[in-house]
Amino acid sequence: MTRKIYGPFNRVEGDLELEVEITDGVVSKAWVNSPLYRGFEQIMQDKPPMDALIYTPRICGICSVSQSIACANALADAQGIKAESNGQLASNIILACENMADHLTHFYLFFMPDFARDEYQQRSWYADIEPRFRAQIGTATNTMLKARAEFIHITGILAGKWPHTLSIQPGGTTTTASASDKVKLLAILMSFRQFLETQLFADTLENVIQLASENELKLWADSHAQADFSRFLHLADDLELNNSGKIDAHFMSYGAYGFEDQFLFPQGIWTGDSGSITSLNTQLIREDLSHSWMLSQQKPAHPYKGKTLPDPEQLEGYSWCKAPRYDERVIEVGALARQTMSQHPLILDLVKSNQSNVVNRIVARMLELARVIPEMENWCKQIKPNEPFCIQADMPDEAEGQGLVEAARGSLGHWIRIEQGKINNYQIVAPTTWNFSPRDKDNVAGALEQALLGTPVEEHGNKAVLIQHIVRSFDPCMVCTVH
């Protein structure tokens, strides 16, 4: 039995350290440490509530809009208002732009370059993969960066800039889209669609959305071998990555892209063992501090009552991350959870046969790219340029508000309590807080800690490449995790 420490990781957002115990050549225990603490919840104490709209996006540079929307939703809840329809459409488009750009960045810059490493030289697919995906010099990199930057022009129009906009407000957006903006947005979306349909899928988005089973996906990958997505599916098949990073956790989604009281992807809780979906009740969320470097509370608390007070002397602590639990259960969040909740037949089939694993997490992200771009086109068309985008309302001196959103990486929640016109308590539970949570009071390990169990480790350090595939398959955002 040996113990190894892995870190720093790159191509994850922020800093990450992993400790694993290896018994008989496989991981027998894992501990995930989020090594950076900044203290946003303390920073926002006593601030004017609306100023949270400036602080919270700066929690994270890659999920900045998600943070803005969670914050705006929490403030809207406190005010008891609902955003204008145009504002909802614009917010959805801005959020989808961030989320889809993140999915793309994850695939091309963070995840795929690991397969272009020397460790895989002997594999039959290496000669194809290496020149395309090698970090910094792969031919896909420049093409992808160009497509990504042009796609993000959407935020230049609707959000002023990205990251860190203030255009997203509780009542809608400060930006309006003129008739000329509207056609420009549609043209940008078409250009991005063309990139996806030539490079990533080598097929129409509509055909990708139609894939309904693992078998259909396999046949599709064989007949679209030049697609970057197929390249991944083929090498994943060869490396049997669908047996890596497996867990049987529950999935959660807060519901994604709401418009007129309907979500595009529904909210809910998916129970792994029974495969059933139950409705979401955020009252059942608790944050457990038993293994965090946090001043301990009596028992795990709901975020409305939670506190974030760092204490590096906690003896059981091994991370600045808290351990969120839903009804005392470990939860995995992200695209795979969302697409399971939306009962997409391909994802249901994949999860049914092999739970949550490295491949399924990637497939769900790619499927979201195919599903969301056409919706963005629809939202654009529904914008009515001459109608208002934002309503104004006063902020009560005493109020509570909950703001939920689905970021690229999964469920993000903000909880605010306002007293005497100021922020009395602000608590944030981010997607990777769920996925990379430490152990709880019952010593139950978090999602990644479970996903690593049983992983064979033949080489150490950077050469332990399988561990890195598993870690990166979650698309972790460490700066959100601990904020």
């Binding site: 790159n10 900044r38 910094q136 935020t155 230049g156 400060t174």
Partner: protein
């Protein structure tokens, strides 16, 4: 070859993400054109874990020459000066200590973004992380490295401030350093590149006509000037955001919200709120930096009296309701 090492500490990673937004051409092509070699960048590099730590070791033992050390995010000194709020993963050592060592090896040290430069948003409120910049703690020079510190090439820390930084600001300064073009005189009084801080955010603002006539926005989303009521600091803020646009054509002002002066130290601590102009006797405090106050007040009252109806109407609307011309009625 100009070797660049990019590290992240107490920040959000947004300056890196913004850097990836560089276009026409992309960031890697820009670097290539100036023979910049990225030794390591958290979003771009292959090396992880031991290979990365080996690189740090090679720099410290002079096996690899480091031309530019870039830090993104604040230096985390807390708790109680220990630096434990950010221990570099896999090393058991605080990032603060790593930065002390690595900055001695680099020809130039650069703070990428306002957090690394001055402390930034991470140092807001009661600054629970004891966050500071590399050579500034808010407006006070010093920071981690101290006021007198100079890099081996005789430069202070170059503060590429902004929240986030514009991708062009970053690639401009790195490429100029690589070409040997950047001189000390090219930095301003806070050691920011004058290439963008010789401008004010006000320059090129699409709302300039509203400013001229003091036709003011009353709520966020109104298209009038946001200086009088909505906290806009564009007339004082040092950056070229409205000349060199963001994400293809945007800026904060174009996005319908005020400039919060994010290239300045302590922007994270507004007097009232970010979106409310502090006033004394109805007159905004913090007028344009170099304009005599009496003149400003006199001109403002004069121009306010002369405001065309068109601007008055449009200033408090979210879209233009009174256009400049009038169309003839159709017969």
């Amino acid at each position: 070859m100009f070797n660049v090492l990019w590290l992240q500490s107490g920040g959000c990673g947004g300056c890196s993400i913004s850097l990836l937004n560089a276009e026409s051409p992309d960031v890697l092509t820009r670097f290539k054109s100036a023979d910049i070699n990225v030794l390591w960048h958290p979003s771009l590099s292959e090396a992880s874990v031991d290979e990365f730590l080996q690189l740090l070791d090679d720099i410290i033992t002079d096996k690899i020459h480091l031309d530019a050390l870039c830090l993104e995010g604040s230096v985390m000194k807390g708790p109680n000066g220990t630096g434990r709020f950010h221990m570099l993963a896999g090393t058991g050592k605080s990032m603060m200590s790593w930065l002390n060592e690595l900055s001695e090896k680099a020809d130039y040290t650069l703070a990428m973004g306002s957090c690394a430069a001055f402390g930034g948003v991470t140092a807001a409120g009661n600054n629970p992380g004891e966050a500071c910049g590399l050579q500034y703690d808010g407006q006070i020079s010093g920071g981690l490295l101290g006021e007198q510190w100079q890099s081996s090439k005789g430069f202070p820390v170059i503060n590429v401030a902004g929240c986030p930084t514009h991708p062009d600001w970053v690639t401009d300064v790195l490429m100029q350093l690589a070409l040997g073009d950047l001189q000390y005189a090219d930095l301003d009084e806070l050691n920011r590149p004058r290439a963008y801080t010789d401008h004010l955010v006000h320059h090129g603002c699409a709302r300039n006509e509203y400013y001229e006539y003091k036709a003011s926005a009353e709520t966020l989303g109104d298209i009038g000037c946001m200086m009088e009521h909505k906290g806009c600091l564009g007339t004082q803020a040092r950056a070229d955001c409205n000349i060199r646009p963001w994400n293809g054509g945007g800026s904060c002002l174009k996005g319908g919200y005020p400039c919060i002066n994010c290239t300045a130290p302590e922007f994270e601590k507004p007097r009232l709120s970010f979106t409310e102009t502090p006033k004394i006797a109805g007159i905004p405090v913090g007028l344009p930096t170099d304009m005599p106050k009496a003149w400003f007040v006199a001109l403002a009252s004069l121009s306010k009296a002369a405001t065309p109806k068109r601007l008055k109407d449009n200033a408090t609307a979210s879209q233009i309701i009174t256009p400049p011309g009038k169309r003839k009625e159709r017969p």
